[in-house]
């Protein structure tokens, strides 16, 4: 096996992994603060992809240009969803939350099916067929763009939680809900913002993914499953862990595809998940409960 082949495969796996990481960021952020597992994660991603598709085709924008609009719309959607629906179930048992979000997922998937039909839709960009060439290394232009923006989005999210007052307040809620209430923080509002930020992340990831993957309503299950693998690998609730988990999954898929067989890629991701659950159940960067 040539060095050139390994180099290109590792680079492709790394770039895909960063996009995977962004995909899982929203899921991790929501769980980290609210302890709610968003089972409608993949379905929200598909809705975001359709949003980016509609804006791109309607307004003649690229998915990257459509990203801020999609993220904003998804923020509002997430905010309202949390405020008026999920908030009522925060104290409910986990299986009730699971059923609620599964219901939301079914509505979103079938709504997409009704609106857009079963056909796959994509956006054609000039860059879709182009690559950057560095000697023997070939980097897919679209994937480089998506990975770069994924890194940027993750950094912005981290900065939001680290440096803004709202971000600090959200972290305070996550650390000690009672204490946050005692000092006068509006928990309901902060939770709604968190859910909004999480879905905005999903919106950003969806816009970027539209450049790489053709969207159809039944894509959601794959995304939800992949999201869970990544955040469990990286550590539920850890933003850095989500990115690391994405990169690990992207790289392992690439290497297993080349060393074993491409059709075993998914099996390898699940194998890794089981291994991490056995050896380090809190995930690579997760805190022990």
């Amino acid at each position: 096996m040539s060095f050139e082949l390994i180099l290109n495969i590792v680079a492709a796996g790394l770039l895909t992994g960063l996009v995977y990481g962004l995909m899982a960021l929203g899921l991790s952020a929501i769980f980290g603060v609210m302890r709610v597992v968003n089972f409608a994660h993949g379905d929200m991603m598909v809705v975001a992809m359709y949003g980016a598709y509609v804006i791109s085709t309607g307004a003649g924008l690229t998915p990257v240009q459509a990203l801020p609009f999609v993220a904003l719309v998804m923020f509002v959607f997430g905010f309202l969803l949390q405020r008026f629906l999920i908030n009522r179930f925060l104290q409910a048992t986990e299986h009730v939350q699971f059923l609620l979000l599964l219901g939301v997922a079914m509505i979103l998937t079938n709504g997409s099916l009704m609106l857009f039909g079963p056909d796959a839709r994509n956006i054609q960009l000039d860059a879709s067929f182009e690559s950057y060439s560095f000697g023997p290394l070939l980097l897919d232009k679209v994937r480089v763009m998506a990975a770069g923006l994924a890194g940027l989005s993750a950094a912005s999210l981290w900065a939001f939680f680290r440096y803004t007052t709202t971000g600090k307040a959200i972290r305070a809620c996550a650390d000690n809900q009672l204490g946050a209430q005692v000092v006068g923080l509006n928990i309901n509002r902060l939770y709604a913002i968190t859910f909004g930020v999480g879905t905005a992340c999903v919106g950003a990831a969806g816009s970027l993914l539209l450049m790489l993957v053709d969207v159809h309503p039944h894509l959601s299950t794959d995304f939800t499953l992949l999201g869970f693998i990544i955040v469990i690998l990286g550590g539920l609730g850890s933003l850095g862990g989500a990115l690391l988990g994405g990169v690990v999954v992207g790289l392992s898929e690439a290497l297993s595809g080349i060393l074993l067989a491409p059709s075993l890629k998914s099996m390898f991701s699940f194998g890794l998940l089981i291994l991490v659950l056995l050896v380090r159940p809190q995930g690579l960067l997760g805190k022990r409960a």
Partner: protein, 416 residues
């Protein structure tokens, strides 16, 4: 106690009313049924079973266009035919239920169903009920190997597809004087992909193909990214890429080949969908050109093909005129032809007439439509169809070719 019960000899009980109503209803229904059956000159009712929703919806709807367009054309040709449409929802169970429903609604003959699993389920229903069933598309050989008496298939079996598809490789090399030495087989890892793989592995030595498969790469049917697969294929340095795909993965495959600057001598599908479809040329533009698909195809020189194509392009200018439309059109035509010759829409004479079908003026490439004792049409041929300037053109067999083959294909980078 009411008067009716006290004087039963003069009263009519509720039960008697119900029995009477049932009797009248049965008589009326039976009468209508009898009239329907006795009306030999009436149109033949074709129960159309297609996957118009579900994961095969795109193709099911394409087939439906072929069925719908057949009505005015067949009327012009002097046939009387009516369609009763049903959606199989891409599910064999729904297909079975819908077939039974169509028979209850008075379908004289069933037609469908695109996918082999649903087709096999409907074939069982047709056989149980004694209603003729014409398969428009469905390649599993087993369907016509069960000894069924009412099942007729005007579509090649997967073995015929494989044989027809592979033998055209040698014809292409002979026509262009270029013979590649190595090939990489890339196939979707599902039942269709694996049956094609087995067929190719079994047939390749028999056909004495001039090239060797240096690598076989299977990939997940749900793959959203084929970068690893294409990198592996590129590393094999094979002269030829032989893909067994469906539509979306065919697009992913070629897009990735362009990105990774892997430009082999040719990309030739040995008998699978994807590369001849409009979505493929629409998504890939100039990069879709020069891909070759060896499949059953329209005979561009038949008058009926020209009529159907003109009607299709008028009704659906945005859609792709491909083999699903042609085979579905022919299936309805076969039913109409049999009913006309039988002079009846009864199952028995209709089945007898189907058995003696002999239609020379047809749409698809091949000899006259005739069915063997097992109900299979053996006079079907594959053609090599190459994308040229965004259009699908027949390049082989030479007797029906409408364009010259371009092989080796121009490098992706050199396409302006």
């Amino acid at each position: 106690m009411s008067e009716n019960t006290t004087n039963p000899s003069h009263a009519i009980s509720r039960r008697q009313v119900m029995v009477g109503a049932a009797a009248v209803g049965t008589a009326l229904a039976g009468g209508r049924f009898m009239i329907g059956r006795a009306n030999a000159a009436g149109p033949v009712k074709v129960g159309v079973l297609l996957p118009r929703s579900g994961h095969l919806a795109l193709i099911g709807q394409a087939c439906q266009r072929g069925a719908d367009l057949s009505l005015p054309i067949l009327r012009e040709m002097g046939y009387a035919v009516e369609l009763i449409n049903a959606d199989t929802e891409s599910s064999p169970d729904v297909g079975r239920t819908q077939a039974e429903k169509l028979i209850r609604e008075g379908a004289h003959v069933l037609m469908g169903c695109f996918d082999s699993a649903t087709t096999a389920a409907v074939a069982q229903v047709a056989e149980q009920k004694g209603v003729p069933f014409i398969i428009n598309i469905g390649a599993d050989p087993k369907i016509t190997e069960q000894g069924y008496k009412f099942v007729f298939r005007n579509f090649p079996t997967s073995r015929m597809l494989g044989m027809g598809g592979l033998s055209l490789f040698k014809d292409l090399f002979a026509a262009t004087g270029i013979t590649p030495k190595t090939a990489v087989l890339m196939h979707i890892n599902d039942s269709f992909g694996n049956s094609m793989l087995q067929g190719i592995q079994a047939l390749a030595p028999k056909l004495d193909l001039p090239f060797q498969f240096v690598e076989t790469i299977a990939y997940d049917p749900k793959a959203k990214d084929l970068s690893i697969e294409v990198a592996k294929a590129k590393a094999s340095k094979a002269d030829l890429v032989v893909p067994v795909t469906r539509l979306n993965d065919a697009i992913l495959l070629v897009r990735e080949m362009v990105k990774q600057q892997y430009s082999p001598m040719g990309i030739i599908a040995p008998g699978s969908p994807g590369m001849y479809e409009k979505q493929f040329t629409k998504s890939l533009g100039k990069y879709a050109d020069f891909c070759i698909a060896n499949n059953p195809w329209f005979d561009p020189k038949q008058e009926l093909t020209k009529t159907l194509k003109a009607a299709f392009l008028k009704a659906h200018p945005e859609e792709s005129f491909e083999l699903n439309i042609g085979f579905t059109f022919e299936a309805v035509m076969i039913a109409a032809d049999a009913a006309k010759r039988a002079g009846s829409t009864d199952a028995q004479p209709l089945t007898e007439a189907l058995r003696t079908t002999n239609i020379a003026k047809r749409v698809m490439i091949g000899g006259p439509i005739q069915f063997g004792a097992d109900g299979q049409n053996m006079n079907l041929k594959s053609a090599s169809v190459q994308n040229q300037d965004g259009e699908q053109r027949v390049i082989l067999p030479l007797d029906v070719a409408e364009a010259k083959p371009v092989f080796p294909m121009p490098d992706f980078k050199a396409r302006s």
